[in-house]
């Protein structure tokens, strides 16, 4: 049986975006029509039951996220939902819980009914800028209406009338596709006033970023949208309570929102059935590096890493062997060939000491220096630190300098322990406002675990042993 790939199976073969008419012909905006017939809490319940998890890299559950917006009944009693109390009283557990939430939970955090302190906002996080990650670009270039429909449904579910797409500057084609789709949707009354004859109004605006990786962090993104420096905010409060211009705001990733129309149209049971595991749906996986066919594939959530690399990506390019991989982008821990049979979902990859992140893998081959690779990644994070928190602003360049010295053959034996110390302290999630610095330490700490001999060889030889092997230097 051919498995369904709801997000991408209707993509045009010429690489052009689906027009509104083409999207409607394959069921487009039926999810919205279904949602408009439902009570808001039913929409959120459906998303929760679908077990859709956030696709932005942290694995947050969408339905739960939507419920964060303060609840009517609870507001009458002047208390927040228990999740919010937990956020405030036990931030540590909260951070831990964040990793496992489904999107429905996130949505349910939004305030509801008359307690919506209007305006309330929906924001699509399209600032995909982590090295190795390109899945949202694929979705926006292939089917921008799917994203718009997801945003409109989300706005209806949480009572928002304004939504923004925060798009990274480099995605020129995505910008053109989205602008055209917004115009088409407005023409067809999917955007504007009295959507399809209801009393629901919604506008979507495209905001194109002026650059900086940190804009992808939800609270930094909101600061940027407000015309401020993209520095992260202290959490709590969650953006569902205090977000854009201090209003309740639901921030969801592009891939997350692109799943929403299909769930509303086909139901949560159908959606769960798409997955191999208890995390529902399909996932856009990707592979870059020295494989035969670098690319992306929409596959059941929980597809095994080996299948993605060996079958879909065609295995390693001729003359190259697999040494390891970053499973979900530059901020995830290395895995090795012995981990190839891991299921690529949030829980399974967590269980072996890394993160699924965005599910877009970067391959380390045997002709590429692992120290050089970590050094490259560290220079990226050091450059992109927003400078707000000291461990990140000062610690990342310092760590990059040590790595640079080791790679150049000027390292000292004690540098390995020094790097471990940095990885441990900078890697602590409670030392910085956001996860940039801890994320930067993930490839480093795992490289020190798995490739320590390579670090030692650089120091011992006084040069990079790969420089003669034809790999990148």
């Amino acid at each position: 049986m051919k498995r369904e790939r709801p997000l991408t199976q209707h993509f045009r073969s010429d690489g052009q975006a689906l027009s509104l008419r083409e999207y409607e012909a394959v069921g487009g905006y039926q999810g919205l029509r279904a949602a408009l017939r439902m009570e808001r809490h039913q929409i959120i319940k459906t998303i929760r039951e679908s077990t859709l998890s956030g696709r932005g890299g942290a694995g947050f559950s969408t339905g739960r996220k939507w419920t964060f917006i303060p609840d009517e009944d609870l507001h009458e009693r002047h208390v927040f939902p228990h999740e919010m109390v937990m956020m405030i009283e036990e931030p540590d557990q909260w951070e831990h819980a964040l990793a496992g939430f489904t999107t429905g939970v996130k949505w349910s955090f939004m305030p509801k009914g008359e307690y919506i302190t209007t305006p309330t906002y929906v924001v699509a996080n399209a600032d995909e800028m982590e090295p190795g990650v390109f899945k949202d670009r694929v979705l926006m270039e292939g089917n921008p209406h799917q994203l718009l429909e997801g945003m409109i449904i989300s706005a209806h579910a949480i009572g928002a009338n304004t939504a923004y797409i925060f798009l990274r500057w480099a995605y020129k084609k995505s910008a053109r596709c989205i602008e055209k789709a917004i115009a088409e949707a407005r023409q067809a009354n999917y955007l504007g006033e009295h959507i399809l004859g209801t009393d629901f109004n919604i506008e979507i605006y495209l905001h194109i970023s002026a650059g900086r990786y940190i804009c992808g962090e939800a609270t930094a993104l909101l600061n940027s949208l407000e015309g401020r420096r993209a520095n992260p905010r202290a959490k709590p409060p969650h953006t569902a309570a205090v977000g854009l211009w201090g209003r309740p705001t639901n921030v969801n990733n592009v891939e997350t929102l692109s799943n929403v129309p299909h769930i509303l149209r086909n139901g949560s049971d159908w959606y769960k059935g798409l997955s191999y595991t208890d995390e529902g749906g399909t996932k856009i996986y990707g592979v870059s590096g020295r494989v035969k066919r670098p690319g992306w594939w929409e596959l059941p959530m929980g597809t095994i890493a080996r299948e993605i690399i060996e079958e879909h990506a065609g295995g390693m390019a001729d003359g190259y062997h697999l040494r390891g991989f970053l499973p979900g982008g530059a901020s995830t821990d290395f895995l090795l060939t012995e981990h190839l049979d891991v299921r690529m979902d949030v829980k399974s990859v967590d269980a072996i000491g890394s993160r699924m992140g965005c599910g877009t893998m970067i391959i380390l081959d045997d002709k590429t220096c692992p120290v050089g690779m970590v050094n490259n990644v560290m220079r990226f994070f050091a450059r992109e630190s927003c400078g707000w928190c000291t461990p990140c602003r000062e610690g990342l360049p310092w760590t990059a300098n040590v790595l640079n010295a080791v790679e150049a053959g000027q390292g000292r034996p004690e540098d390995i322990d020094r790097l471990r110390t940095h990885a441990r302290w900078i890697g602590r999630p409670d030392n910085t406002f956001c996860a940039l610095a801890p994320g930067a330490m993930e490839p480093l700490q795992s490289a020190l675990r798995y490739f320590e001999d390579d670090f030692r060889e650089h120091i011992h030889l006084g040069r990079c042993p790969w420089r003669r092997k034809g790999g990148p230097i």
């Binding site: 800028m129 020129k172 970023s209 670098p294 081959d365 990226f380």
Partner: protein, 161 residues
């Protein structure tokens, strides 16, 4: 006033999109930068006045975001991705070739002011690495020698698209 009337009109039209004037700041800087290529002190002063901000508040943004240029750049801006997937796929070869062809390094502008080379973090086309972007044009799957042909297009007075 250094801002053109139609730029001003474009900026004012955006004010309707956001509840506060300062939210337009980055769009406004991009609008002004479109024609001039970079943002002068006078631009900062004038745009700030338009958005009810102080020049210092606006410059605080202009100096933070990587795609707002507070110093002159050449006629064409070359953004060479130096992030990890491109690096694995041979980005250093591109750097060497670019440096050879232009006689400059990252962050520099050619003496004839035709090209500025900026190192850039991930262009989001990792499966087509290595990649560069010249102005708004993306080039992927590159070999170092491809740069010779690509740059030629920008030397021959303008770009064919």
């Amino acid at each position: 006033m250094t801002i053109h009337a139609d730029e001003r009109y474009e900026i004012e039209a955006l004010l309707r999109t956001y509840p506060t004037p300062r939210a337009v700041a980055l769009d406004a800087l991009k609008i002004v930068q479109q024609a001039k290529k970079w943002i002068t002190d006078e631009d900062i002063r004038d745009v700030a006045a338009l958005l009810e901000m102080t020049p210092a508040e606006l410059d605080n943004l202009a100096t933070f975001y990587s795609q707002i240029f507070r110093r002159p750049v050449g006629e064409h801006v070359i953004r060479l991705c130096d992030s990890v997937s491109c690096w694995i796929m041979g980005e250093t070869g591109l750097e060497e070739r670019l440096s050879h062809l232009l006689g400059i390094g990252p962050g520099e502008t050619t003496p004839d002011r035709r090209f500025t080379w900026l190192p850039v973090s991930c262009l989001g086309v990792c499966e087509q690495a290595p990649a560069i972007m010249i102005d708004d044009d993306l080039y992927t799957h590159l070999n170092p020698e491809d740069l010779d042909v690509i740059l030629e297009k920008y030397v021959q007075g303008g770009v064919e698209k």
